[in-house]
Amino acid sequence: MASIPFEHALLLASVLFALGLVALLIRRNLIVMLMSVEIMLNAAGLAFIAAGSRWGQPDGQVMFLLVLTLAAAEVGVGLGLVLQIYRRYKTLDVDRLSEMQG
Amino acid sequence: MILLWLILVPFIGGLLSLPARRWRDYAPRWLALAALAVDAVLVLTLFADTGAAPKTDWLAQVDWAWIPRFGIRFHLALDGLSLLLVGLTVFLGFAAVLCSWTEIRERQGFFHFNLLWTLAGVIGVFLALDLFLFFFFWEVMLIPMYLLIGIWGHENRAYAAMKFFIFTQVSGLLMLIAILALVFLHYQTTRSLSFDYFELLEADLYPGAARWIMLGFFVAFTVKLPAIPFHTWLPDAHTQAPTGGSVLLAGVLLKTGAYGLLRFVIPLFPGAAQDFAPVAMTLGAVSILYAAKLAFAQTDIKRLIAYTSISHMGFVLLGVFAGNAQALQGAVMTMLAHGVSAAALFMVAGALQERLHTRDMDKMGGLWTLAPRIGAITLFFSVAALGMPGLGNFVGEFLVLLGSFRVDTAITAFAAIGLILAPVYALYVMQRAFHGPASPCEVRDFGIREMGMMLCLIAATAWMGLHPQSMLAYTDARVNGLTRTLAQRGP
C-alpha cells in the first residue's frame, strides 16, 4: 500500500470529530445526539487506526476495538434510557429534560 | 496530667450532660456545676502549688507525640499567664451556668454540653504550646459557641452565629497559613519539622518573612480580640447570644485573642512586632475611641456593652504592642478585669431581657425603683467599666497607658480620650435604663442565686483593683521575659 500522510488522516478524524460535536450541540433529538456521540467515537477510532498504521503496530487497532466495545455498550444503555424517556415524556426533545437547574 | 484533666473534665462533663436530661430536667446544670467545681479544684491546686514557688518557669507540662508525620505534639504547658486565664475561664464558667439557670428551659442537656465544650476548648487554647494544637483548640471552641448562639440566641441568631463563625474561621485560616509558613521556614534552616512552641521560638526568620507571618497571626488574633476594622462580628454575636454565651464570649473568648498576641506574636516575632507596633497601637487607640462612640449611639443594651468590649480590648492591643513591662502587665490586667466586668454586665442585660423581654433601653427607665439590686450592680460594673480606680479595669488601663506613654506619647494621648468617652456611654446606660420615673410594672429583683454570683464578681473586680499585685505577680516573670526578648531581638 502506498503511504498516506498521517497528518491528513488525523485531519479527517478532526473534521469528523468536529462535525460530531456540532451535531451534539445543535440537535435536540436524543437519538441523533447519541448518533453524534458515535460519530465522535468513530473519529477517535479513525485517529487510532491512523496512528497504528503510522507506527505499524497492532496497538492502534486494539484501541479501536476497545472504542468499538465502548460504543456498543454505550449505545445499548443509551438506547434503553432513551426508550424509558420516550415512554415517560412522549418526546425525544432533550431540552424538555431540564427539570433540574439552578 | 493535671493539665489534661483540666480540659477533659469539662469535656466529659459535657458528654455526660447530654443524656442527663432524660433523668431529671435540672440534672445537666448541676452536672455542669459539678464539672466546673472539679476544674476549680484543679485550678486551685495549681494556684496553691505555685503560690509559694518563684513564678518564673513553666509550672506543669504534658508532652506527648501526636502526629509524628509533621512533628506535631500534644504539648500542654502552664505558666502564670495561662494559669490566670484558666482561672478566669473556670470562674466565668460558673457565672455562665448560673446565669442560664432559669433562662434556658429547653434542651438543657445540649446547652450545657456546648457550654462545657466551649470552656474545654478555651482552656485548651490557654494551655496549648504546640502551634498545631493551639490552632486545633482555637477552632474547636468555635463550634459549640456557634451552636450556643444559633440555637438559644435571640431573634437574629442565625445571622449573628454565621458572622461570628465566618470571621473567626477565615482569620483562623490565615493563622494556619502563618503557622505553616513559620514551621517550614524553620524547617528549611534546621531540617527539623516541628510545631513546638519552644523550638519555633528559636526560628531564625529574615525580616520580610517574619513580617508577613506575624501579620497572619495578628489578623487572627485581632479578629478575635477584636480590633477595628475586624470587629463587626462582635456586636451581632454578643447581642444575639444567650446570656451564658455572651458571658463566655465577652469574658473568655475575646481573651484568647489577647492571649495569642502575648503568647505568640510578641515572642515569636519580636522584631516584626516592634516594627509593626505603631500601626497596631494606632489600631488599638482607634478601637478605643471608635467603639466608645458607637457604644454611645446604641439603644440595644447588649449591643452597647458589646461595643464597650471592643473599646476595652483596644487597650489590650495598645498595651501588648507598647511592649514594656507596665503596658504588658496592664494588658493582662485589662483582660482579667474586663472578663469579669463585661461578663457581669452581660448577665445584667440578660436578666433584664428575661424580665422585660426587651433589650431596648428606650423601653426601660426607672428600673432603680423597681429593682434596686439590679440597679446597684449595674452601677457598680458600669463604674468599673469606665475605669474607676480601685476596681480592676482601672489598674489595667492605667498600666497600659502608663507603659504606652513611654513608647508613643501621641497615640497614648489620643487613646486617653477614651477615658473621657467611657463615662459618656457607661453613665448613659444607667440614665436610660435605671434612672428616670418608674413605670408601674413589676420587675423581679435579683434573688439569692443571682446576688451570690454577682457578689463574687464584685469581689473579684474590687480585689483586682485593690490588690492587683496578687495577680501581677503571676505574670511578672513572663512579662519580664517578653520585654527582654523585645529588647534583645528588636530592630
Partner: protein, 491 residues
C-alpha cells in the same frame, strides 16, 4: 500466568467473580437480601485478598496493570466505600418488588472499574477502567426509572460522559500517534521532549479535559449538580466518592508517570482549573436550597482544593504529592459518604429528601442522624476534630511550602464562602420548630451502622490521623522507574 501475577490479580478476579455470581444469583432467584449478602461477601473477600496482592507489590501484570501499594490503598478505600454504599442501598431501596437487585451487579462492576482505573499502567487499561466504571454508573444513576429525575440525570450523564470519552479517546489517539507508545512509563520516557511534540501535548490536554469532566472541575462541572440531584442518594454517594477518587488517583499516577508536571504550562493550567473550580463551586453553592446540589457544588470546590494540593505538592516532592492526594481523597471519601449516607438514610426510592426544608429541625427529630450530617458538613468545611481538617491541613501545608500564594489565597477565600453554606444547612437542622407535626425519622439499621462507623472514622481520623497518614504515606512509589531527581530540595 505466574503465581505472582495471579496474586496481584486476585482482587480483580474475585470482584469480577462476585459480579458474575450476583448476576447469576439474580437470574436464578430474585432476592434482594441474597444479592446484598453476596455483594457484601464479594467485597469483603476482595478486601481480604488485598494483603495477598500487597505481598507481591509492586508488580506489573501484562504491562497493563501495575499493582502497587498506592493502588492498593485506594482499592481498600473503594471497597470499603462500596460496602458502605451497598449497605445504604439495602436501606434505600425499600420497595423490594421492583426488581432492584441489578444495582448490586452494577455496584460491583463499577467498583471493579474503579479498581482497574487506579491500577492501570497503560492507556488501554485507563480507558477500560474508566469506561467500566462509567457504563455501570449510567444505569445506576437512572436506576429509579419510575421517577423523572433519575432519567434526566442519567441521560445527561450518559451524553456528556460520551462526549468526554470521545475527548479522552481522541486525546489518547493523538498521544499514541505522536509517540507510538501507550504505556504510561513509555510515554514518560519520551516525555522529556514533550515540548517538541505538539500533538502529544494537545492529546494530553484533551485527556485532561476528559478527566476534568469526571472530576467536575470548572468549567467541566456543569453536569455535576443535576446528576447528583437526580441520582438515587446511595448512587450519588458512590458517584461522589469512588468515581471521583479513582479518577483523581489515576490523574496523579498518569500525569506524574508521564512527567507532565514538569511542564510549567501544565501546572499553570491545573492551577487555573483549581482556582476556577474553587470559586465557581463555592459561589454556586452559596444559596442553594437542595442539599444534594449543594454538596455537588461543594464537591466541585473540593476537587479544586485537591488540585491545589496536587499542584503545590507536585512542585515540591513526589511522595508528598501522593501522600497529600491519598489522604485528602480518603478524608473526602469518608466525609462525603457520611453526608450522602445521611441523605440516603432519610430518603428512599419513593421520595428523595434533599430540600433544605426537609432538614429543618432535624437535629431535634433525630439527633444522631443530624449529628452525623453536621459532622460531615463540618468535615467538608475543614473544621478541626474532623478528618476533613487534616485533609485541608495537607493542602495548606503543601501550598505554603511551595509558596503558591495565589492558590493558597483562593483556598482561603473558598473556605470562607464554604463555611457559609455548610453552616446554612447546620442552621436549618438546629432551627427550633414545633417538632410535634414532623414525624421522627426512622433509621434503617444498615444505614445506622454505616453512619455510625463513618462518623466514628471521621472523628477518629480527625483526632488521631497518624494511622491514616501512615497508610497514605507508605504509598509514595507510584511506579517503578520514577526518576529519583527532585526539582526542589524542600521536603
Amino acid at each position: 500466568m505466574t503465581a505472582d501475577a495471579f496474586a496481584a490479580l486476585l482482587p480483580f478476579i474475585v470482584l469480577s467473580a462476585a459480579a458474575v455470581a450476583v448476576m447469576l444469583a439474580i437470574a436464578i432467584r430474585r432476592s434482594f437480601r441474597l444479592a446484598f449478602w453476596l455483594t457484601a461477601g464479594g467485597l469483603l473477600v476482595t478486601l481480604a485478598t488485598l494483603p495477598c496482592a500487597l505481598s507481591v507489590a509492586p508488580a506489573y501484570v501484562t504491562g497493563l496493570l501495575l499493582v502497587d501499594a498506592y493502588g492498593l490503598f485506594f482499592h481498600a478505600l473503594f471497597l470499603l466505600a462500596a460496602l458502605a454504599v451497598a449497605l445504604l442501598c439495602l436501606a434505600y431501596f425499600r420497595r423490594r418488588d421492583n426488581e432492584n437487585e441489578e444495582i448490586f451487579v452494577l455496584l460491583l462492576t463499577s467498583t471493579l472499574g474503579a479498581l482497574l482505573l487506579v491500577s492501570s499502567a497503560h492507556l488501554a487499561m485507563f480507558f477500560l477502567g474508566l469506561e467500566v466504571l462509567t457504563i455501570s454508573l449510567f444505569p445506576m444513576i437512572a436506576y429509579s426509572v419510575r421517577a423523572s429525575r433519575p432519567l434526566e440525570a442519567g441521560i445527561k450523564y450518559l451524553m456528556l460522559s460520551g462526549l468526554a470519552s470521545s475527548f479522552l479517546m481522541f486525546g489518547m489517539a493523538l498521544v499514541y500517534g505522536d509517540l507510538g507508545v501507550l504505556s504510561f512509563e513509555q510515554i514518560g520516557a519520551s516525555g522529556a521532549e514533550l515540548g517538541q511534540k505538539p500533538l502529544a501535548l494537545a492529546g494530553l490536554f484533551l485527556i485532561l479535559a476528559a478527566i476534568g469532566f469526571k472530576l467536575s472541575l470548572a468549567p467541566f462541572h456543569l453536569w455535576t449538580p443535576d446528576v447528583y440531584q437526580g441520582a438515587p442518594a446511595p448512587v450519588t454517594a458512590f458517584l461522589a466518592t469512588v468515581s471521583k477518587a479513582s479518577v483523581f488517583a489515576l490523574l496523579l499516577r498518569f500525569f506524574t508517570t508521564v512527567h507532565a508536571e514538569r511542564s510549567e504550562t501544565f501546572l499553570c493550567v491545573l492551577g487555573l482549573l483549581a482556582v476556577v473550580s474553587i470559586l465557581a463551586g463555592n459561589l454556586l453553592a452559596l444559596l442553594q436550597d437542595s442539599l444534594k446540589r449543594l454538596l455537588a457544588y461543594s464537591s466541585i470546590a473540593h476537587m479544586g482544593y485537591l488540585m491545589v494540593g496536587f499542584v503545590a505538592a507536585g512542585l515540591l516532592r513526589r511522595d508528598l504529592q501522593a501522600e497529600t492526594i491519598a489522604f485528602y481523597l480518603a478524608a473526602y471519601t469518608l466525609t462525603s459518604l457520611a453526608a450522602f449516607g445521611a441523605i440516603s438514610a432519610i430518603s428512599d426510592d419513593a421520595r428523595e429528601s434533599d430540600r433544605l426544608s426537609d432538614y429543618t429541625g432535624l437535629f431535634w427529630r433525630s439527633p444522631w442522624l443530624a449529628a452525623v450530617l453536621m459532622l460531615s458538613l463540618l468535615s467538608l468545611a475543614g473544621i478541626p476534630l474532623t478528618v476533613g481538617f487534616v485533609g485541608k491541613f495537607y493542602v495548606f501545608a503543601a501550598g505554603v511550602q511551595a509558596e503558591t500564594w495565589p492558590l493558597v489565597t483562593t483556598v482561603v477565600v473558598g473556605s470562607g464562602i464554604g463555611i457559609y453554606y455548610y453552616l446554612r444547612v447546620v442552621l436549618a437542622m438546629i432551627r427550633t420548630v414545633d417538632t410535634a407535626f414532623l414525624p421522627a425519622q426512622s433509621l434503617h439499621p444498615a444505614a445506622g451502622l454505616v453512619l455510625a462507623v463513618l462518623a466514628a472514622l471521621v472523628l477518629g481520623a480527625g483526632l488521631f490521623p497518624q494511622t491514616l497518614i501512615d497508610a497514605a504515606s507508605q504509598t509514595p512509589q507510584i511506579s517503578a522507574g520514577a526518576p529519583k531527581g527532585n526539582r526542589h530540595s524542600a521536603p
